[in-house]
């Protein structure tokens, strides 16, 4: 009986959370097109989230491409299909690994950052002060951040894909004597718009989800210093989970349009 009530309580909290998140998203869509537009803040946030994540994404992408190629090589050699490495790695990275890994890295860095930043602002009553002073904190703090993540994540994904492919090409060049030109020619031969377009569109949703969850958790964080930590932590967990859910849905939708 106790377990059932706990389950119901947990389910209730989960649905409340989803409901609050949906309301938060609705509010975003309501206010995003309404002036005034905080361009300067948007630029600042884009810089913070885009440029500042570039190194992290580059290192991660390079290692992922390198490791994926190194790990796949023995199996492909066994099948005598090592020449198919660029096709396999290219499609894997562009379709799935690139967007998901980049988004997860950004979820860890950006969602936690936003959660902690907005959470501390909530705790120190800066958000309340903004409301009192007549500034719309939602527009200034939330919309700019969600917009920034929505716009920056796809670009970071493109960078990440390129660096991962470079890492893979490097391994093939050093171990398999495949020139960079041949490697990238084979990759682009294998790729089609059905690989690139869904992955790019998906990246916008990933960015939106990261920004939305980070802002939601930070904006509604509970009072006290512990609330900031909880906000940052739950923002990362929820954003990561949401990324996989979006990825799952995106694959189904892509399949409808492109017959993958």
């Amino acid at each position: 009986m106790g377990n059932t009530s706990t389950l119901f309580k947990g389910l209730k909290e989960f649905f409340i959370e989803i409901g609050d998140l949906s309301n938060f998203a609705t509010r975003f869509f309501k206010e995003v097109l309404k002036p005034p537009f905080e361009f300067k803040e948007l630029m600042r946030q884009c810089y913070q989230m885009g440029n500042r994540s570039l190194v992290l994404v580059t290192i991660t992408g390079f290692i992922i491409g390198l490791v994926l190629t190194l790990q796949s090589r023995p199996t492909l050699i066994q099948f005598g299909a090592v020449s198919w490495m660029p096709n396999m790695v290219g499609i894997s990275i562009v379709r799935e690994i690139g967007p998901v890994i980049t988004a997860l890295i950004c979820a860890g860095r950006i969602a936690s950052g936003i959660g902690a930043e907005l959470g501390s602002m909530r705790v120190t009553e800066q958000i309340d002060a903004m409301e009192v002073s007549g500034t719309n904190p939602f527009k200034y703090l939330v919309i700019t951040r969600i917009m920034a993540t929505t716009l920056m994540i796809p670009i970071l994904v493109i960078y990440g894909d390129l660096v991962a492919l470079y890492g893979s090409a490097l391994v093939e060049n050093l171990k398999g004597d495949v020139s960079f030109q041949l490697y990238f020619n084979t990759v682009f031969d294998a790729l089609s718009f059905s690989d690139l377009v869904p992955a790019t569109i998906k990246s916008f949703f990933f960015g939106f989800a990261i920004g939305l969850v980070g802002c939601f958790k930070g904006y509604y964080s509970k009072k006290g210093t512990a609330g900031v930590g909880v906000a940052a932590n739950t923002a990362v967990v929820m954003a990561s989970l949401l990324l996989f859910v979006i990825d799952f849905i995106a694959v189904f939708i892509s399949d409808i349009f492109y017959e993958l």
């Binding site: 300067k40 630029m43 600042r44 884009c46 810089y47 885009g50 440029n51 570039l54 299909a81 716009l151 796809p154 670009i155 970071l156 493109i158 960078y159 390129l162 682009f188 031969d189 790729l191 089609s192 718009f193 690989d195 690139l196 790019t200």
Partner: protein, 324 residues
């Protein structure tokens, strides 16, 4: 303020490069699918698409020249495959070119191969339909393999019978395989053959040496072999010999008839040859003649010593001396 400007510059560079990368990637992918650039549509009809999909490559002599645009089912046995081909390749592809469905490597994706024809026709134009050749489907291959397997099974059965007969010593081949005496004989024959061939070689070598040693200019053999005038003479001689032999033949025939006549008893010769009494008489006569001659010599000697005739003989001797 300056910091914000620098940040904005960095952000601008980041966004521009990121977007440019996306555009370049899209262009490269689109270019490979002939989305940019001038293309012409052509089609080909197949019985089986063999898993061909939209976007698969079209190759002409091994070069990617286009992509499959649309696959249309016309009826239950006819599939029309629409392709787009680069306009610049139009001049190289003639109307008698043949389109086949193949695969890129053993496990690669499907593609259309356009094989050049004899090249006597004009080049293709937009909307043209290429001739097609449906490659052998996997099922057909399996059916053929099945037939081959059945044949192989029959063959192995027969082979088994043959090998059994061989091992049991039935038939000529089995004897060849099993009979040790025959093997020895064969071995001996081969040895003899070898010896004979060695001897023949030796003889040929000697003959070669003889031929080399021949003086074609001066020796009789050289004249015989080389001199055309002597050859003609020889030919005449041979022809004369031929005539002579004919005459000899005639003569021998005549002789035969004469001998035949003699044998049959016609004429004096047969009488002389066959009558033994006559022979005896002749012998007696000859003895008498010899005795007569002896007596005559005695008489002549007596006459030489007679005073009446002695002068005649002396005169004769003198005349003979003078003549010498």
């Amino acid at each position: 303020m300056a910091k914000t400007k620098l940040e904005n510059l960095k952000l601008g560079v980041f966004v521009v490069f990121g977007t440019a990368l996306l555009v370049v990637a899209a262009y490269l992918i689109g270019n490979r699918q002939n989305m940019f650039g001038k293309t012409i549509p052509v089609s080909a009809i197949f019985k089986n698409a063999n898993g061909l999909q939209n976007g698969n490559n079209v190759r002409f002599s091994g070069i990617n020249v286009g992509t499959v645009n649309k696959i249309e089912m016309i009826n239950d046995t006819t599939i029309r495959v629409h392709m787009i081909i680069e306009e610049k390749m139009q001049n190289h592809i003639k109307k008698d070119a043949v389109a086949t469905i193949g695969s890129d490597g053993l496990v690669g994706s499907m593609l259309i191969n356009i094989v050049p024809g004899e090249g006597k026709t004009t080049h293709i134009g937009p909307g043209d339909e290429l001739q097609s050749y449906s490659r052998v489907a996997t099922q057909d291959m399996l059916n053929t393999l099945n037939q081959t397997n059945e044949n192989a099974a029959l063959l192995t059965q027969d082979l088994l019978k043959v090998t059994r007969s061989l091992t049991q010593g039935k038939g000529t081949f089995a004897r060849l395989l099993n009979d040790s005496l025959m093997a020895k004989d064969l071995h001996q024959t081969i040895t003899n053959l070898k010896l004979s061939s060695n001897e023949a070689n030796k003889m040929i070598r000697e003959m070669n040496q003889m031929v080399k040693q021949l003086d074609f200019e001066n020796s009789a053999a050289g004249v015989l072999l080389k001199d055309s005038i002597s050859g003609n003479k020889m030919r005449n001689v041979i022809s004369h010999l031929e005539n002579s032999s004919l005459e000899i033949e005639n003569m021998s025939k005549n002789l035969n008839s004469v001998i035949g006549d003699i044998k049959t008893g016609k004429g004096a010769i047969n009488y002389l040859a066959t009558d033994t009494v006559l022979v005896r008489q002749l012998e007696t006569s000859m003895e008498n003649v010899t005795e007569g001659v002896k007596n005559f010599n005695e008489v002549t000697e007596a006459l030489k010593h007679n005073f009446l005739t002695r002068g005649y003989f002396k005169k004769k001797e003198k005349k003979e001396k003078n003549n010498r």
